[in-house]
Symmetry: C2
Subunit: 556 residues, 2 copies
Amino acid sequence: MNVVIIGGVAAGPKAGSRVHRLCPEAQVTLIEKGEFLSYAGCGLPYYVSGVVKDQKELMCTPIGVVRDSVFFRNVKNVEVLNRTEATKVDRGSKEVTVVALESGKEEKISYDKLIFATGATPIVPPIEGTDLKNVFTLQNIEDSEGIKAALAEDKAKDVVIVGGGLIGLEMTEALAKKGCRVTIVEKLPQILPILDWEIAYQVSKYLEVRGVKVKTATTLTAIKGKERVESVVTDNGEVPCDFVIMSVGVRPNVFLAKDAGLEIGKTGGIKVNEMMQTSDPDIFAAGDCVESVDLVTGKPCFIPLGSTANKQGRVAANNACGFKDAFPGVLGSTVCKLFNFNIGRTGLGEMQAKEEGFDVVTVLSPAPDKAHFYPEAKPIMMKLVIDKNTRRLLGLQAVGLGVVDKRIDVAAMAITAKMTVDDIANLDLCYAPPYSPAMDNIITASNVARNKLDGRFQSVTPMEVKEKIDRGDDFVFLDVRSPGEYEEVRLDNTVLIPLGKLRGRLSEIPKDKEIITFCKISLRGYEAALILQTAGFKDVKVMDGGVVMWPYKIGK
Amino acid sequence: MNVVIIGGVAAGPKAGSRVHRLCPEAQVTLIEKGEFLSYAGCGLPYYVSGVVKDQKELMCTPIGVVRDSVFFRNVKNVEVLNRTEATKVDRGSKEVTVVALESGKEEKISYDKLIFATGATPIVPPIEGTDLKNVFTLQNIEDSEGIKAALAEDKAKDVVIVGGGLIGLEMTEALAKKGCRVTIVEKLPQILPILDWEIAYQVSKYLEVRGVKVKTATTLTAIKGKERVESVVTDNGEVPCDFVIMSVGVRPNVFLAKDAGLEIGKTGGIKVNEMMQTSDPDIFAAGDCVESVDLVTGKPCFIPLGSTANKQGRVAANNACGFKDAFPGVLGSTVCKLFNFNIGRTGLGEMQAKEEGFDVVTVLSPAPDKAHFYPEAKPIMMKLVIDKNTRRLLGLQAVGLGVVDKRIDVAAMAITAKMTVDDIANLDLCYAPPYSPAMDNIITASNVARNKLDGRFQSVTPMEVKEKIDRGDDFVFLDVRSPGEYEEVRLDNTVLIPLGKLRGRLSEIPKDKEIITFCKISLRGYEAALILQTAGFKDVKVMDGGVVMWPYKIGK
């Protein structure tokens, strides 16, 4: 059996190794346009920053052997043609035409099974100046070497990062660590559109603290300079800079598949079934070039990630070898480190869930990531999105200085297993003070959701409160923190009555008005609402997330 | 409604607060024998070590308010009787007799609903000398103050910790940090009986590196000294010491419940149903005093943990107030920090699973906890236990310098959701190099399990190999690591052929013999086995876990 694989970065080598393991007698050929094979693309920002010292480390097995052509031949029995481009697939004759990039030599390779792992390419907007020196994308080892070389020329530099997505943020950290002054330019009203805006706000706030400028709702219109870039021009002013990183997203590489007449999905990726099989039963596809299925909505989606590519490569290989396997779909689980800040998400955001027709309940839950008395405990802020009808968790977003990836993974499991918040509330997650609170953050947040679903208390989001204030609504905005906390930071238009004094000072609060309670994280706010309700106050609500998650500038 | 709660540490205060929230008009009385309320018992070792500076921190809310009687009255509307012992429960008249410990005053308190949260008490073996000065258990704040006072008297001390369970290990770290020389004395042949022995071996090995002496299969027979302890006597010699921590386990406090005629389970804990209701429908029980249900076997178990106590307290309160809620059971999920080493487990161990009649497949999987090129990546060693028939994950144990709690939680979710290793292999867990490998450790290990279940390769455990060696079996023990690795550390009776050279040196290996391959972690061992099988070798097996997880002394 001849198995040909086009693409040598993530899904391709994974599929090649797996085919070799399942069918050692198969002839496996891996075609890669670039020089390098099987490198960790997700590691490139860390190579740029110098956290990863040597290019080779990104291409090594865990024990330090470089995965080059020799390695693939000797160990995996995979024949590698690198610096070779596949230019045509003839499905009739079952042949792939390839051109060796150095010699220009063309040849045809027969296949019984073909696997597309052609990846994706960074989008470069069609504007003037993108070909200037020091305008980069970050796609492969060569790009990272280019950026490193540019950095080596001079020390402190002004950098504009176009696109505030995950790669944009990872590059922000990488370049700031190299002494650059970074400005992020984002077309949308918020950075990180994979997060709901009030969560993305927390990331912006952190970036400001770290000295990174963020310009949202700002569209790049041109890049200016003589030989090398000197500034970027936007609809929101010109920003002088020494270099530019374009990270506005990627586009799946489907030219070859399309040209061969394979079906392309509506998201632009190659259409595959659960077996990672394209519309041609002898052709499979995996990784950044394919369209996936969203596990919550069941709809097609395009979420290119290295973790998914590896799993899909294995599934494609299994099926190509005749061993049935299925890749069920994705949740868009992802995590990103930004200096000391952690950012993660899985499943549906609130906006996404509403667009899909879900009636949602949300919970904003800030809390320490470990037992609060443990000195290394650090805050994390979570947002849960729950389906009101089924009580199922639909999505989790979590950001903060504390550990978020664990909670994202637990949520991903819960969503996959279609768990309700009632199920989550009694999960036996492991506990010791250096790892989590006695009731993990996701358990506590699920209990808050249950209280809301059961009508135990009414809540309002900070956004709803802000609207009320802006409209001039007449309500009591009741801060139940301590005077010390109030002195330190406070919201506008509030009345302060510390929780411990509330029972004795009820007469100060008008009974006929709407009352919205809050504290630092709104746990005391909840206690206060209960006290008020018991005392006969009729219209009492708690503001979700408290001062900590108030997504607007705070005066004092 | 009068709700009386006996016990003020974890489940009790949780239940009290929850009752107040659900039925603000209820009269809630909390009876606590000790002085202190609602303290984090699990934090005591960290208070002893000085990581937690102030006793009060263990009794505070996350924002620093001490949960004392005044707090419970003002905020929670819970009446607290501390330093008060409940001596009798009369189910006929629905009254609890209590005695104020200072005044000796007795009174009766009526209840409509009663909640037992009486906890557990450290077991002290019935031997001579346990009443000597400087013999401690670690149960409450007073114990920790006693230990701290003893430590303050002198600096470097010899300490014997009796019992190598979780609390024993946490105290080992705490006391070593205070400059003590620690010896652990454990009756069983291994420390940490919640782990399979080859995993517990890795913990012992680490303890040795940290200078802690571990004496297993050693039974304490007496404690000697004049006024204060001077040595412990065991069936394996006498150990001189300055003080002793007894941490041989706990016994549920069920005297009162038993005396009241409530049903006690076979594990010794109070028997409750899913609603945390005892054999008397008006009496509930929660926390360390109850028997739980094992979620995998469906059988009763006694696993007292703070995380469980909090959840059960809430469920008991919900049901006491007439709002139906169920606590499904536990997996024995737990985690423990030992210096820089992390130890975690959930579900069934191999021995336990076999005792329960499961036909199991196990996987030993050592790997870095993050992308291997990320400098902060640290190794973790995992053992998966899988049911051969259903392919379901039954349990996970994980130890090492890297992050284990995340994997334990993911496994706990998978076990709860009855996921197979096939399900786990394609989970959408979040990935970025600072958090995990592209395919998380648990995904890779699940793929190894699938290969085994599908008969893709034969494996042997290190214990089976050791037996073979000890028996003098004739087989080829093939090390496929590099010569450099071989120089550094090697097993006995091996043949070295590095993986990259194997295809060219096949003639050196006898075709008619059993061959057992391995490497550092047995990934290359697996590749080698495939090469050998393809080349016509018939009897080829891979040794699970490689050199890293070899659970015996290594000569060089």
